[in-house]
Symmetry: none
Subunit: 130 residues, 3 copies
Amino acid sequence: MSQNVDLVNRDANGLNDHVKVAFDDVIAEPDGAHSLPCVWAGAWLIFTCTKGCCYNVMSIICGFPLALLWGCQFAYITFYHVWCIGPCMRSFMIDCGCYRKYFFTCVQCCLGPICETFGLCFSNIVVRNV
Amino acid sequence: MSQNVDLVNRDANGLNDHVKVAFDDVIAEPDGAHSLPCVWAGAWLIFTCTKGCCYNVMSIICGFPLALLWGCQFAYITFYHVWCIGPCMRSFMIDCGCYRKYFFTCVQCCLGPICETFGLCFSNIVVRNV
Amino acid sequence: MSQNVDLVNRDANGLNDHVKVAFDDVIAEPDGAHSLPCVWAGAWLIFTCTKGCCYNVMSIICGFPLALLWGCQFAYITFYHVWCIGPCMRSFMIDCGCYRKYFFTCVQCCLGPICETFGLCFSNIVVRNV
């Protein structure tokens, strides 16, 4: 978690790595068919500008309300996990730890001698180094 | 367990490691699409402040009653495990240990010679170091 | 992602690698059957010029509007993924992380003792180096 906003690298954790929307990610001419350079350059300019403008307009209009919404949402999620699920989980883990000990004793008691006796199969390994 | 409250590291045991709710954990712009720096910085500010405020309000209102509740709950769990389940478990383990020894002797007696004989299968391993 | 338009290599990411439309990708004479050199050369010229002209005309007429259209489309896709799906995904990942911990505790509790007991099979390995 960073304490300050990072204006350069905006996807440090790779959350949206799969969103590839640059011009050369979307439109590609194979070697056999190249349009005129001015057409290609113009299309690049139009695509990039349109995408930039539309995205900026949408993020200016919706970015702040959505940030507000997600802020509330994640405050609730954090609160719920920290103050409710966390202690429940710990209580469950304590019970499980207790049951594990009980179950381990039973299994050790019933299967332990058999397994240990089978271990005698490996008690007489002789290795000759040639 | 720490004797004093640790105000800095509040999840020393990693109980809520998976709760990642910082701004850069939640919202990420891939390289192809960056909104205006002021929009990004504003969204960061709004998200962080909203989340902080909401979480603080919720923890101020519910933190103390929930701490009281979980305090009672875990006091009961501790009491139950220490004074009831613990001694029961020890008594059970003593019985099991005794039975294990008896069963081990029987199994050793019946299967031991067979397993040891099978162990001769591994008594002629030749390892060539190349 | 490139900041500038690349006029030479127009398919840097191999998006349309499979679109092979050069003359020798389409028409090929095996060793047993060769037409007259002038026929072959003429066909090559006609094919290449026709393809180049038609493609250029179509790209000049439709390239700019389509670039505009796709620019809007991908701006919307980016916006949707960054500001809506990304946070939803993080919230889902938090829930999954919590469930993972719960499931891990259960499996540890049920299968752990059995696996540990089976491990006794290997608790008595004696290796004699001759």
